[in-house]
Symmetry: C2
Subunit: 184 residues, 2 copies
């Protein structure tokens, strides 16, 4: 980095108040809980609910949740991939078949109908996760839908309703409200 200066140029970066979401420990904890609990790709509806719940612990948007799962899954996958790669390399083995470590995650997928017809890759994990909540919505596809849905709630912390600012490009000096994160 330039290191020449970086002082208090606060939030000049682009469009939205704080430059990026900084999850509180509680939020991270809950998210990781859901992830290890089996939720890898939440549907739009789930993202909504998760966002609502996490907003109790700090300001957050649906897209943050969406990104979190995307990144977490991707990095999990790449971690596994590297591990497998070194293993294969170590044993002078080639990956099992076609694209072996291209999808190593033992994610719990949805119902894979019959597996007899392999014409399509079994990417059918679009049904909603193990928890049996009665959401019968077929195809709510992550990001788009999320964005469509969250519409009017720019960031949904439960702050007292101040004068709503569409695009807080203005300085908003300070941060302070940023986080009280004290690591456990």
């Amino acid at each position: 980095m330039a290191a020449t200066e970086m002082v208090l140029s606060r939030s000049s970066s682009g469009g939205g108040g704080g430059s990026r979401w900084c999850p509180t420990p509680e939020q991270v904890m809950l998210l990781e809980g859901m992830y290890t609990g089996g939720l890898k790709t939440p549907t739009a509806t789930q993202i909504q609910q998760i966002t609502a719940r996490l907003s109790l612990y700090g300001k957050i948007q649906g897209k943050n949740v969406f990104y979190w799962f995307q990144n977490h899954k991707a990095r999990d996958r790449q971690k596994l991939r590297k591990k497998l790669m070194t293993i294969y390399q170590h044993q002078r083995l080639y990956p099992p078949y076609n694209s072996p470590y291209h999808d190593p995650l033992p994610l719990q997928v949805g119902v894979v109908e019959d597996a007899s017809s392999c014409k399509n890759r079994v990417n059918k994990w679009k049904v909603d996760p193990p928890v049996d909540q009665t959401c019968n919505f077929k195809c709510d596809c992550s990001l788009m839908t999320v964005m469509m849905i969250e519409s009017t709630t720019p960031y949904c912390t439960r702050v007292p309703p101040k004068t709503l600012q569409l695009f807080p490009i203005t300085t908003t000096t300070a941060s302070t409200l940023k986080d009280d994160l004290s690591k456990p």
Copy 2:
């Protein structure tokens, strides 16, 4: 997705498909015009305007415009890439330098500040395109912002503004409300 439903009862009339956007010839013409005119990656603001304009010729959403440019650019690029690849292969040449045909498109980028400091990749094409409309918004980054903006207008054919509903999550056993937001 189960495909069990998708009633697609109506609206197939008049050139709008139910399941996916089917651009009218006028829309395609205009889009291609803009593309060859130099617009490769419209900002959110531009996407809005384009959508508004194209909605005169048929129903369309911001995401359609977004996807159209994404796909068009991607496929243009891959076409060029293939062409270059065969050329190189044909002449027993290796690509010029590091990743030669990784960015073959002579896209018109925004102002590249000084080019003297190459510390960062010059990916600064985030400023808004040639047309000098006075939008000073720094970083409105494509999809997210588009979605944020278009918010309450699920599909922006010129329908009269109804009362906005913000997505009832409650059980409401299936259906009924669903098609309200998927079909006109």
